[in-house]
C-alpha cells in the first residue's frame, strides 16, 4: 500500500514530527511504500541543516535525511511556507527538496492513504 504523509509542525516543539517519522518507519517495515513526506506550515523547519541537538537527544533532521537516503522517501518542503519562515535552498539538509504545494495534492491522489500529523 502507498502512503503519503503531511507534517504540519516543526521539530522538537511538537511530537507530531516524531509520530510521523515512527509511522513512516513502521509502514516501511510492514512492506508498504512511503511516496512522499510533505512539510507544510511550521513543518518546513524539519529541513534545517543547521539543527544541532545535544549529543544525547534524537537528531530529527538527520533522521529524516537518513530515511530519504535508505528508502528513497521523497522529502518535499513547501516553497511558500518555507520562504515565510526562512527555510530556503540555502539551509536545507540532504534529502529534502523545495517544491510547490501541488505536490501534496498529487501525493494525495497517488497514495492509497494520506496521513496528517500536526498540533
Amino acid at each position: 500500500m502507498k502512503f503519503a504523509i503531511l507534517v504540519n509542525e516543526g521539530p522538537f516543539n511538537h511530537q507530531a514530527v516524531d509520530t510521523a517519522y515512527q509511522f513512516a518507519r513502521a509502514a516501511l517495515a510492514r512492506g508498504h511504500e512511503v511516496l512522499r513526506v510533505f512539510f507544510y506550515y511550521d513543518g518546513v523547519h524539519n529541513a534545517h541543516r543547521h539543527s544541532a541537538p545535544q549529543a544525547d537527544e534524537r537528531n530529527i533532521v538527520a533522521r529524516w535525511s537518513k530515511l530519504a537516503e535508505e528508502h528513497g522517501v521523497d522529502l518535499a518542503v513547501c516553497v511558500a511556507a518555507g520562504l515565510r519562515r526562512g527555510v530556503t535552498e540555502a539551509v536545507i539538509a540532504p534529502g529534502f527538496r523545495i517544491t510547490g504545494l501541488g505536490q501534496l495534492i498529487e501525493a494525495g491522489i497517488d497514495a492509497d492513504r494520506t496521513m496528517v500529523f500536526g498540533d
Binding site: A16, T19, Q22, F23, A26, H32, R113, M115, D119
Partner: protein
C-alpha cells in the same frame, strides 16, 4: 475511517470534536498526549468507557510507556497497539482523519 486524536482531553477539545462526528463503529486511535484519555480513574474515564462501546478505540503503546503509563489501568474496551498496529489500522480502515 480511522480517526486519530493527539491532544490531552483535559486541555483541548479535539477528542470531543472527534467523538461528535465519528460515525458509529468508526475506529479511533489515541496517540501522543491523547493517551491520557484512555486511563481508568480520571474524571473523563466514564465518557471514554461509553465511547469505547460505540467506537473501536485503541491507544498507542509507545506513547503510554513514554508517559509512565505502561502498566496503568485503561478504561474497558480500549486496545493497545504499537506503530505497526497504527499502520495496520490506517491500511484497514479505508481513509484517515486527523483531529488537530
Amino acid at each position: 475511517m480511522l480517526h486519530t486524536v493527539n491532544k490531552s482531553p483535559f486541555e483541548r477539545n479535539t477528542l470531543e470534536a472527534c467523538l461528535k462526528r465519528a460515525v458509529p463503529g468508526a475506529a479511533i486511535l489515541l496517540i501522543e498526549d491523547a493517551v491520557y484519555a484512555a486511563l481508568a480513574g480520571t474524571t473523563l474515564a466514564d465518557a471514554m468507557t461509553s465511547a469505547a462501546q460505540r467506537f473501536e478505540v485503541s491507544v498507542l503503546g509507545p506513547d503510554l510507556a513514554a508517559r509512565g503509563l505502561e502498566n496503568a489501568a485503561l478504561v474497558e474496551g480500549v486496545t493497545v497497539v504499537d506503530y505497526g498496529g497504527f499502520v495496520d489500522l490506517a491500511a484497514a480502515k479505508g481513509s484517515v482523519q486527523a483531529w488537530l
